[in-house]
Symmetry: C2
Amino acid sequence: VVVGSGFGGLFAVRALRRAPVDVTLLARTTQHLFQPLLYQVATGILSPGEVAPVTREVLQRQHNATVLLGDVVDVDLDRRTVVSQSLAGALVTPYDHLVVAAGSSQSYFGDEEFARLAPGLKSIDDALEVRGRIFGAFELAERVPVGALRDRLMTFVVVGAGPTGVEMAGQIAELAQRALPRQFRRIDTRRSRIVLVDAAHAVLPGMPSRLSGAAERRLRRLGVEVLLGAPVVSMDERSVTVVTGAGSRTIPAATKVWAAGVSASPLAALLADRAGASVDAAGRVAVEPDLSLPGHPEVFVVGDMAATGLPGVAQVAIQGGRYAAEQIDRSVRCLPGRRPFHYRDKGTLATVSRFSAVAWVGRLQVTGFVAWLLWLAVHLFYLIGFKNRVSTLMHWAVTFVGGSRAERAVTSQQVLGRVALQRLEERGLSVDGVENVESVDDPRDGRPAQPA
Amino acid sequence: VVVGSGFGGLFAVRALRRAPVDVTLLARTTQHLFQPLLYQVATGILSPGEVAPVTREVLQRQHNATVLLGDVVDVDLDRRTVVSQSLAGALVTPYDHLVVAAGSSQSYFGDEEFARLAPGLKSIDDALEVRGRIFGAFELAERVPVGALRDRLMTFVVVGAGPTGVEMAGQIAELAQRALPRQFRRIDTRRSRIVLVDAAHAVLPGMPSRLSGAAERRLRRLGVEVLLGAPVVSMDERSVTVVTGAGSRTIPAATKVWAAGVSASPLAALLADRAGASVDAAGRVAVEPDLSLPGHPEVFVVGDMAATGLPGVAQVAIQGGRYAAEQIDRSVRCLPGRRPFHYRDKGTLATVSRFSAVAWVGRLQVTGFVAWLLWLAVHLFYLIGFKNRVSTLMHWAVTFVGGSRAERAVTSQQVLGRVALQRLEERGLSVDGVENVESVDDPRDGRPAQPA
């Protein structure tokens, strides 16, 4: 059983395609999300389908793999079963080997009020919500008279200056500077204010200072205000307040985007609890050098959920998933011995805007157009599926050369649905079940035969 | 002022591009929806962006046009103003001439409970909701054991055998027969049950019997059960009940789609009330032969909202919008006389599945592949924007030749958001305002200067 359809889970399943095993992939969503391009959905460049191909389509030719939609709610390490829940009831799936790769979600460092005010960028839902808010803010600004309300509607604050925050701020600036000016008659979108704030003292903190400086200069040239060493202390509908060396500062802004931190899936804590292992501050579970859960060589934890000291990037999850698959393959073939997991760093890339990126590969530090070409090639290479590559390349041509955004239809569900959910929660009401689906009376009835 | 960004409104605005006027387009959504292809969004073929380009992008080069997002809530025929509402407050827009083209919405013939159980196909939100339910039903079916629940999950009822209903039933059948079988391991999607029901005694009732018969035969060959002369009398989470000559019949089905009727925008009744005109059973307002509101030659009502005896199709709205624009142009140029609106029927097309359609152009009745090529050409011609044509054509190639569906990422917002909204309504609570937007205190403050 593999849990999670992100980079770790999907690459583990694919690496098992020739192994003499039956694989069941349990995931909370029907799609494999290519998270590094999610910010492009949030800014109207790509469609959800392009960055999130459906997992069962990706795996349709892998006959030893079964894909099941479900939210894993329990793992029984002794009986070796995984319990998953869906709108159609619970399901108990037995396993011989388990790979858990459930990833991480946005962390608001305990302040859940921020979550409502500043959506993150971890799921398709997040990206559509952010997209609706950004384009919606410009729409409303066009309707209101000159004044404080219009200014607030035309101010965008991105919290967190890691790769996602830098990419979001850069893309909002490109929207305001290049894509939108000719489409509005009453507002000048070029006078929008885009502010990138972070508690850290550099953008792209993991990068060498030369690259980090280049990214910051490029952002400033695009008109982005970069506010470093400035942790966010409060936030409301109308503004964001940060603390700087010179005291606190309030930025009036209707739209906020959160790209400031992640915490591991709650499954990490659940596994730690079941196995008597520890979790770190980010909620990741301690693992052995072979990525296995302490005392359970048959259970692997890969990617963002494992406390390995490695960064939370796609390559760590991909290599971890493949490594776990290899150990499982060796184990079912009764081959002895396990070498510890060794991560091979292939470099780090971050893009700031069109034609401009920074790349750090081994001793090589590249900026500007060459780094951007590298970014383009690497992302196209890792995108899943030939037709997604073709259609993504087409949308990139439209956007980077022509400047327009093809995917920006805003639906009322995105905005209203989110608000409605929130209101229900405020009132302590829950949304249980969907009208066209009923629960199986006894969850254990749903226990499947082993996949054929 | 033009109200509505559908076919009637958009073509009216474009026809005024060389007229010596300032045009303000007021619309409830930011996009121009190409409704005839909405069923393709609902079945995962096209992305929302491809059938719904953003109106202000379509009109960016038309410098005499201003686009404003807003819900028209009142029209003052004496003071000649339109009041629109948005999340950022109300706005009063004065006009010299008014074109109202707010279209129609799904009609459930008074049974609003049906709306919850069987979403329609009139907006992007509808299409995403239907898409989530169809693909979600297959996902859940794969999780549950053989039995009544699985059967219900694999049964799809389409209510209404007009063009939209026929296209939906045909596409669900193609999904089940061609696109999905290899992607599931436990269910055989080819054993899905797709039922098309209608109170009428023929599919495509407006078509000649030869074409209607051909469409019905093609549907049956695809495995669709066609149940005619069978009005729906009740519906719940688990089933649909129809009355046939042989008594009532209950079809267990989790997923229902409504394509059975439309009623005009409530703006039609509002205009009728203000002008002392009458409305017909479908909520359309009576208009003069020149499409003007009785007693108000400066106000035109075009498309689905006007009781003209013409069908509710795109061509009627397009020609009506262009006609209204021409009269306005003549009027501002002080040219005398108005000829009545004359609709030129360019023919009717309906597609059943890939490579198969029916076409009725003048005396010509064509079926099969030739009709399908005609359908392809006409739809590409009327799609707005070159890049939408290219990307639509690419997705069609992928789907019609390869069989797969590129756009089927299901988000939790679509399903949960809808449920949450509904729960709030059931409890009499409303969703007012969105967190990142505040109201203008005095709505009249928002009164704009005339667009420059």
